[in-house]
Every structure is written in structure tokens, then in C-alpha cells.
């Protein structure tokens, strides 16, 4: 940490969710625009959204999520059928092709945060770790926006 430039670079890599460890595919994963909505208390499940980009040359699969905020985090997919009935279910493993990105966004995929340990308070943030099929992990800091937020900008 000799120069301010290095400090900024490290801070930026943490902010962007660049992996610190080196693994074959997950080192090329970049997580962008992470955000979550505040919760009312901790009895209701929360949801977090982000874009997971594979900048490398190998496909990478997201295996699981982990966060100190929730005991049962999982990636869910919301679907709405021809009758307008919406439902959500675990999305299973999600593979990101080289050069592609997967968006977790309202009405599609979301990081479902079941069994909250603490309420999600607007203005705070929490860390979320994604584990990939090559054993690598990426940890992102997810800012908590208001309950009525519609995107990473609020």
C-alpha cells in the first residue's frame, strides 16, 4: 500500500467484487450493480439483485450463495404464466458463457435471502459470497436501498 493509486485499485477491486484469489474461471467474474431492498423486520425474506459478468474464456457456473445476513440464501427465478400467475422456485445452477453476463433483476432471477439474521436496514450493506464450480469465490458488498427501490440507482 505504498502509493495512493494502489490503495484506490484495491478499494476499487473490492467495490467491483473482483476475486482476490486466483482460480481458472471465477477469477474472470465481475459482479456489477448489486443492490437489495430494505426489509420490514427479519421475518420476511429479502431479495438482492446484481449482474454477474464472465470476462474470461471459460464457462463459469454459480453453485451457491453465502451471506452472514441470511441462513438460507439461494438464487430463485420468478416466472409468470399465461394466466398472469407469478411463482418463484430455486433456479438451480447458473452457467455463464465466456463474454456473457447473467442479470439478477426484479421479475427474473433474484438472490432470495431466506431466514434473515438481522433486518435489512436502508443505507447499510451486507456481504454476499458467490461460489463457483472451479472452487473460487467472489464476495460483493451489497448496498441496501429503500423498500420501494426499483434498481441499483434507487
Amino acid at each position: 500500500m505504498k502509493s495512493p493509486v494502489a490503495a484506490v485499485a484495491i478499494a476499487l477491486s473490492i467495490f467491483l467484487g473482483l476475486p482476490i484469489s486466483s482460480f481458472a474461471g471465477s477469477q474472470d467474474i465481475v459482479v456489477e450493480d448489486a443492490w437489495a431492498r430494505a426489509s420490514i423486520g427479519k421475518n420476511r425474506p429479502g431479495a438482492a439483485y446484481m449482474t454477474v459478468r464472465n470476462t474470461g474464456t471459460d464457462p463459469v457456473t454459480i453453485l451457491s450463495l453465502e451471506t452472514p445476513l441470511a441462513m438460507m440464501p439461494d438464487i430463485h427465478r420468478t416466472t409468470t404464466d399465461a394466466n398472469g400467475v407469478s411463482s418463484m422456485a430455486p433456479a438451480g445452477e447458473i452457467t455463464i458463457a465466456p463474454g456473457e453476463a447473467v442479470s439478477l433483476e426484479p421479475g427474473g432471477l433474484h438472490a432470495m435471502l431466506m431466514r434473515l439474521e438481522t433486518p435489512m436496514v436502508e443505507g447499510e450493506s451486507f456481504s454476499l459470497t458467490l461460489t463457483f464450480d472451479d472452487g473460487g469465490t467472489v464476495t460483493v458488498d451489497v448496498p441496501i436501498l429503500g423498500i420501494a427501490a426499483r434498481g441499483p440507482e434507487g
Binding site: 420476511r44 425474506p45 433474484h110 431466506m114 431466514r115 420501494a148 427501490a149 426499483r150
Partner: protein, 208 residues
Amino acid sequence: MQRRHLLTYIGAASGALALALFAGWWQVDGPGAPEPVAKRPLPLTEMDFRMTDQTGTAVGPESLLGNASMVFFGFTYCPDVCPTTLSDISSWLDDLGEDVAQLNVVFITIDPKRDTVAAMAEYVSYFHPAIQGWRGSRDQTMRAAEGFRASYEKVATGGGDYTMNHTASVFMFDAEGQFAGTIDYHEPREFAVPKIRRVLARTEEETS
């Protein structure tokens, strides 16, 4: 005598069973099957259900007459679809500006077990102030959903927790309570806002 009685009983029971099976077929697959047109919500004037709004006031479908209305179903333990719908609607209402005064906007919970009146009041307070939160008993909720031709279903998520599948469309009605179309879940603002404006314009014609 005993045996004869028993035989008569079996005969009657199997006759009743055959009749029930036939009636079931008639209603589900046979000529008695409901027309698909039944999917259209009833006019508000033909619905009958009792609920409580977020202020503790008794409300029902008749409370919506006189203004155009937007009604949708959901529950406050819903992490994705419901907050998205409420925040989408809030932004449409922001676009409508003062015209919102001519509109009823109602969020009805299909999870009255967890969504108390107090829970609904707190939840809607985070969104546009025009959005009301209605809660009824289990039976009244079923009656309301029937009237709107909406459906919902409880789905276990493990460890005693559950979520609800539910109709996520927004139903629109004119001031006389006639059904005036739906806005699909997560429909873009450029389609949704003109739809609401058309219903408001129709309402103005009716009342002028």
C-alpha cells in the same frame, strides 16, 4: 335381514358414487365445463366481500364505485414480485400527478394469516400514498379472488415457511365498476400509464 340391508346400502352407495363421478365429469371435462370467457373479472357491482383497509375502515367492492380503480393481489412476505409491482405502480402514479385523486389503488393480501391490518398499513406506507392495503378473513379473501378471477396457492419452502403463488396482474375498473382491462406484471411504464389514462378519460365521460 341384516345381509339384505347391507346389500341395499352397498347398492345405494355405488349408485351415489357413479352419480358423483358423472357430475364431476360433466363439470370438469363435459358439456358443463366453464367457458374460458369466465376469466374476465366480474363488475365490481356484482362482487361481494368484506375487508378492512390500512386505516381500520370496513371496505368492500362498493367502496370503489365513483372513481376509476386499480386492484391487484399480493402479500407482504413476497420478496420480488410484490415490491416490484408496488414500486412500478408508485412510479406510474407519480407520472399521473394530480389525476391520482380520481383513482382508487388497492393492494389486497392473499396471505391474511401473516398480513394483519397493521402489517398491511406499514407495508403500503413505504409506497405511493394513494395505494391502499386491504385485508380480509380467509373466506372473504377467497370470495374477492373469485370475483376478480384471480388465483393463489400456498407453497411450502421448507422449515415450516411458505410462499404464495398468485395472480400478479393489475385489474382496472371504471367509475361504474365495469372491468376496463388489465396491466400485466412488470409491464413497461410507456404501456401502463396510457392504459390508466384511458380508463380515467372514460370515467370522466361517464361522470360528466
